[in-house]
Amino acid sequence: MRVSKWVALITVILFSMSIIAGCGGGSGGTTPAGGEEIRIGLIAPLTGDVKTFGESVKNAFEMAMEEVDYKVGDFTIKVFIEDDRNMATEAVNVADKLITQNKVSAIVGSVTSSSTIPISEVAQANSVVLITPTATNPKVTVDAARKDFVFRACFIDPFQGTVAARFALTELNAKTAAVLYDQGNDYTIGLKDFFKESFVAGGGQMLAEEAYTKNDTDFSAVLTRIAQQKPDVLFLPDYYQKASLIGKQARDKGITATFVGGDGWDSPELDFVAMDGGYHTNHYSADDPRPEVQEWVAKYTAKHGQTPDALGTLAYDATKLLLKAIEDAGSTDPAAIRDAMKALNGFGVVSGSITFDENGNPIKSAAILQIKDGTQKFITIVNP
């Protein structure tokens, strides 16, 4: 009786020890002998309303990692990928998890401004480097004060909105415009404000500024009103799902205005029929003849069977930038990586050569694409 009790106790102890050991091994077990490890997280919306963004970003992130064989300098890279579903709360949860549980030194992500603004606060507070491929709202890197651990690989909305407005005024000869925007989304609000500012400054007239919320599906009332006002341009600065839904209903209501949008339209799931003839600003065009771009397009197409969108391209660039900074820093210390990132000067990536300004934003040009016959047609490049 006594013996069997002891046996049981020892079994339990051994068992629980093996579980603890197993846990330890699970998170750090792949470290090869002799090499130190650096942990990098990726946060992207892999499911939900903008899932094609997340898929591209994940593909490109993994391609960048595979190219260096998960090694940078003397370090082996360990990657943690999390899904934020394009929800701010979920993004904060996974950022907390990456930082406290997986102990990452740097995070690539997230994709949309509304998810990235909250996690930029988390990264800054925990002194972890964050580089977002495509969150364009200014508040990502500067909000009250500069968040010095946060960088991005894309241009920002004041520039994007200005480019769209100028294009509408000069190329489309628009005199009047209307805009529909999501009043709970920093990205669409920012674009709307900057578009309006430049459009009015350039002599255009804003006929309507209508708000909706993320869950709205019925836009008939405001679209009927806009149909009466007959604007030359209807600016739809939302992501592809919502822009498609509004675009379709606008055509149903007999609105003939040219649709104009931002980089949120860049998805194979955009409604190419309803949005036909519309223009949007973007970070790059796959038709750009520069050799870096063509090489990247060929590489991505060979692996994934479709041309990379801007989100994938910028995720690749962001990952490359981060890897370069880690290599320069030669350290897993986020502060050292941050300083190396700041010191980057004219580092060449697919979408251009990157030097960060004092707010962690690169200075870059924008492309304008047209939705035509089921594809995106390259129209022009606009420099800052």
Partner: protein, 294 residues
Amino acid sequence: MDYFMEQVINGLQLGLVYALIALGYTMVYGIVKLINFAHGDVFMVGAFIGYFGFSSWGLPWPLAILVSALCCACLGMLIERIAYRPLRYATRIVALISAIGVSFFLEYFCSLKFMFGPNYRVVQRPFDEVYWSIGGVTISNIQVLIFCTAVCMLVGLQYLVMRTKMGAAMRTVSFDHDTARLMGVNVDRTISFTFGIGAALAAVGGVLYAIAYPQIWTFMGIMPGLKAFTAAVLGGIGLIPGAMLGALIMGQAEVMTAAFISSQLRDAIAFSILILVLLVRPCGILGKTQPEKV
């Protein structure tokens, strides 16, 4: 004036869509005094089944609506059997929490990869839109379809509840379960039937909604569900004509606010109307204050 009429039609369309959902809410409440929060999610399941019906399975769309209604009727009865029947004699708050649980379960379970998946889907309408211009006002065939369906459902339900044997059983059960049982009414079967009908109505509403606003996802039922519930309360919950009236008011309030005041205030004003009406008539517009049964 044409502009005003056009907005009235927009409001009518939105209101009738709410009415399709509100009818199910109000019927279930009328019989079992339970606010079935899962109703909005049954609406979502209905939209998905209808969408699969006419896009993937190649059914003609009226048949797809029927299949969706049948599947959701079964789902409604299943939900009642599993989540509500065991709690029939528990306090009301327990059943309410169970309903919220079912709602979350449906939303997140349907978001799983092997179910409908968490992504938005664009619905290709199963028929072409046709527009008629009547005296400067444009009406689409979708609006006509929604209007006819809602009216048929309203009349059908009134008939079912007021004129048939099952309807008599439903009304009896709504007064008192035990007495109804003594009178020879099969209470369980009647309640189960009520849930089935309510869910089938939600499914029809869901498919029409997916056709009218062609984008669906697994959380699409929350907002329309909430608004339809508000509409049912506004009109007097438990009353079938009340649900219809409330939904029409909600639809017009939202559209008129967006059209003539400000699109930012549309929900704020719609819900303010609810509060104001309830302050004046706590039982809703058509509701009658009943003396407390002791």
